[in-house]
Subunit: 256 residues, 2 copies
């Protein structure tokens, strides 16, 4: 199987490397940015282009791993009806391919990727959507090649999964960031929080988050809450977050 | 060394079991609740009491692992000037022991404990505070017995560490809970989020949370943000949180 990668960011990098390891030929990398294209092409020991008209036209599958929105513009510029076209984004509906490609789908790995950090695709859930059963079969085969767990989801569901991921990943990380700011103020290294953060994440692998909830808000411990709010009096932004989240936790656990 | 545990909750249970494994004799367990006292005493193969006047008076150290505030009341009721008295709470100042005990301190394990889940004390940071160097030496020895990493912190610092932990643990868990509610609405099992949550927690073990921040808010991706807010239009509570956190992430990353 021959694949072309449109895009050279974190998702493209990790997915292309993982597929190559499993025997897929990465025929070419395209990126608007020469530097990024060259870096990824070197990692894959393949060729690259920054010119849409020079995109290799005999691949079996084209992966669009671009910033949301940019891919439609790229796709319009060439026409390869025999190949499968898939994007890897959480929030772009599959219908973006309507009238442009004939065989298409979505291959969305639900994970946060950093260029520096290795990822193990066998632990990444892949959300798959396809225009027909032929494409679906192919995408499931590719996911199987990577030992990934697959979920067949519609564009509507995928959008909500992406929204759920913003809470579970981006907003959790922001809670870590706030925690590190509070520690910085008192000269304590953030490493003191590492074990607690790991344990909190590990716990919900076996217990529903609702049941795993601890802390002053779920205990309705008003004394601790008001002492915390006093400590935050000079950080109005954090006080607002503390107040809002505590009230919502309280409400959620009170009514049941 | 002989220890008595005042309290029979999660912290008492895990700490007493861990100390016993390392050769500390747990002479007795006290709890106001007979059932809880009996359960922990059985686990430790020791005796228990629910009567303050019957607390064993020859132990070397008394651990107060009670709900915040309850311990002062207990402590007042007996007087053991030769023993060391320590509480295990994040938010109670050491000065609560003033005028009641003579040798005292704080032994605060920074972790979230569930009764069912085993914990490894060698991975738990212990925040230590002591009234004098004799007590401090003893508490450091006990932490060393458990292979725990120790931090010498004041009551003021400990209160802020506890506040930082509310963000890192309790509020992160609430983000997981919201994520699970969004998935429940579309009939997708929350297990799809497990790898993402683990990766997010693992990442900050080596990268500062500020640098690890990803998502639409840090990319200033207004299109995605407004589509997410639209999806939340029937959950005003979640919409408010999404809006507030996104704006704050935006601000934090814009000004640098």
């Amino acid at each position: 199987m021959e694949a072309v990668f449109i895009g050279s960011g974190s998702v493209a990098t990790h997915l292309a490397l993982a597929l190559q390891k499993k025997g897929v030929t990465i025929a070419q990398v395209y990126s608007r940015t020469q530097k990024n294209a060259a870096i990824l092409a070197e990692k894959l020991n393949t060729t690259y282009t920054t010119d849409i008209s020079e995109i290799y036209d005999k691949a079996d599958i084209y992966f669009y791993a671009l910033k949301d929105g940019a891919f439609r513009h790229t796709l319009k510029s060439f026409d390869l009806p025999d190949a499968i076209h898939v994007h890897t984004a959480g929030s772009i509906p599959m219908s973006e391919f309507d009238g442009i490609a004939t065989k298409y789908g979505v291959f969305y790995p639900l994970q946060t990727f950093s260029k520096e950090k290795e990822v193990d695709f066998s632990k990444i859930p892949i959300c798959i959507e396809a225009i027909n059963s032929e494409v679906q079969k192919k995408l499931l085969e590719i996911a199987e090649l990577l030992d990934s767990k697959t979920y067949l989801v519609t564009s509507e569901q995928r959008k909500k999964i992406h929204l759920a991921a913003v809470f579970a990943c981006n907003f959790s990380n922001y809670m870590y960031d706030i925690s590190s700011q509070i520690l910085e103020d008192i000269g304590v290294n953030f490493e003191i929080m590492h074990p607690l953060i790991m344990e909190t994440a590990e716990k919900i692998q076996s217990v529903q988050p609702y049941k795993a909830q601890t802390g002053p808000a779920v205990r309705f411990d008003d004394k601790i809450i008001s002492s915390h709010l006093t400590m935050l009096k000079e950080r109005r932004d954090l006080k607002k977050i503390y107040n809002l989240l505590s009230k919502d936790i309280y409400k959620r656990h009170k009514k049941k």
